[in-house]
Symmetry: C2
Subunit: 404 residues, 2 copies
Amino acid sequence: MTGRTFSFEDLFSSSIPSESGSRQAHPRSRYDFGVAYPDPDSLPLAELAEALRVGLEEKEGELALYPHPQGYLPLREYLSEKLTRDRKLSVSAEDIMLGEGSSQLNHMIIEALVDPGDVVLTEDFTYPGTLGFLRRFRADIRGVRCDSEGMLPDALEAVLRRALSEGRRVKLIYTIPTFQNPQGWVMSLERRKSVLELALCHGIPILEDDCYVDLRFEGEPVDSIASLNPEAVVYVGSFSKVIGPGMRLGYLAGSSQLLDRITAIRSGSGVSQFGALAVHRFALNGLDQHVAHINQILCNKRDAMLGALDKYFGSCFGSEVFWSRPAGGLFIWLSMPAGFDTARVAERAAKEGILFMPGVRLSPEGESGHNRARLCFGYNRPQEIIDGIACLSEVFQKDGVAAL
Amino acid sequence: MTGRTFSFEDLFSSSIPSESGSRQAHPRSRYDFGVAYPDPDSLPLAELAEALRVGLEEKEGELALYPHPQGYLPLREYLSEKLTRDRKLSVSAEDIMLGEGSSQLNHMIIEALVDPGDVVLTEDFTYPGTLGFLRRFRADIRGVRCDSEGMLPDALEAVLRRALSEGRRVKLIYTIPTFQNPQGWVMSLERRKSVLELALCHGIPILEDDCYVDLRFEGEPVDSIASLNPEAVVYVGSFSKVIGPGMRLGYLAGSSQLLDRITAIRSGSGVSQFGALAVHRFALNGLDQHVAHINQILCNKRDAMLGALDKYFGSCFGSEVFWSRPAGGLFIWLSMPAGFDTARVAERAAKEGILFMPGVRLSPEGESGHNRARLCFGYNRPQEIIDGIACLSEVFQKDGVAAL
């Protein structure tokens, strides 16, 4: 029987995608502007190990039990205080669910709402991970034009009305309102109110992905959209950017109606208590100080990248080239002259040891943004960032301009 | 906008269950024979904390990165050696995927294969968690009669032929061949070969849930079914029972065809590196010694429960009552006289501080096992087990016999 071959090919469910998922690790490179990593040198490793040791001592029976379906209660209590304080979002621990990163939670929310063909509205360029989940559930994804304050209400209304006039169901508005990925802007309070007003008018919930909000280098926070209506808005956050992506620990705050139903489709049986114990104890000991510390580092990295772009891109490509100047987060959004193909140049850049994300990968329809690129400034040190941008400018000059 | 009410009711996808999931923690009680907890007093807490400290020091950049989609490579390498050594299953790290407990992996495999109405075969009584996942994907679950060596090949063939004669697609055989939950037996090697032979004849894959295999108190291991054909058999294991359920760390070994496709439906983006780093380092330091230690403890607990059943059930209920004597695992399977309703008695027992699982909850069709009960011996100390079984006998005599 050992030798008998076997094929799963005809056995797969018709509900799953026909393509294979990628089983490759993210490629690594000398200049990694491709993935939204946090600063790797300031990970609180010793502090987390000590927090875990104390946490396990304090709660010695906890690992012997299966976690609460929504995750470790003391961490949810901490989050309810943090969200009330930082995001004006008054939620209790019962309204919060922990997840394997925010991605598991986004996945569950989309699965709970989207039937094939349902329309989901997003910003005109947005996080490719969420786009992947939306495509996996066969959503009809439609981007809404944005300016530097977020989705344009007129554009949102037009996209909405068109979908409805086509007889389509619009199931969700997905937004990253703070330090948007990749565009970097923060949606203004007025804009948040307008978007919510339109959503409420049409009975459409909003998924507010706020996973970069803690990474503010300057300026004042804007209230969360969820604080304006915690029933209609599902709020998702994460410890990935403030502690480390490898923790895989995110959180959701939403209406009990939604929590009841997503609990029924959860694929694991609750997030690891091991990580949750450590993060809870670490957070109590001083997450705020840690965040202040890493924001200083990230701010310097942003400035290094902005300076290098001025020097190596501003001078070479003229006035048709511009880029964002975000007040926080991890991204700079670069726009090259029309006709420039960043996807083509990305391959060449990778060979030179520089990774970045071509704009087209962040397009909901996969059709726009050919002349754009997302540059993450979290991973490399400032001098490396400067060297990497200098290098990238050379590649862009050689390959990209030739392609114009 | 804050006050405006919002309802998700008409927005949910038609593909998700219409019932809410339970958002309650497992109830806790003085005598907890209800949930398959491991021994809570021998959790290696200090060792795990130290393993994490060393692991983070050795791999200091690891937490800054997103994990490999299949999970932390060194832990998968450790598992490939362990499975080759313990289960005669020659697999490489590329054939292995880590999950949020074995439950996330079982969920993904079922989701990947089952269309509504597809038939899945299981043992005549089996793990309710998997039954829940099968129901969530609307499988037609059919139990196969077992004796003390596992599924009866004749019964399996009959169930298979009936399903096929009805024009149904049979997508999976789910089995817990070692220290079966709840029945406690180990499927014999001959039986494993017969079940596999039938599966191969009909082109049906087997899901081998081997999450209790390390908990052997006596006797010799039987080769895994997957070792007989690693293409057709998906093997799932877990650290929940040997380190702690709160870790939420399980693993799968299967064909690349299957791994390619389940990667595309994974809802998180890989298991926490934090837990994986600790478990890897701890396992290298001496998982085998730890397992030998906890097996000694669990064996004493099993003996305490068997002795108490002899004393308090054997004498009171006569020869119509019997129970299993497992060589490992966490369960004793109790059979009361026909007509006895354990589900009814369970409510009364809970009020007296004793939890157990009524047999009907482990029935694939939810229709048999009314006179049976699953008793877990992992959680309480031996004297508590004896006291609890004495108490349970009283409740059974009062309520149960009256109900006959």
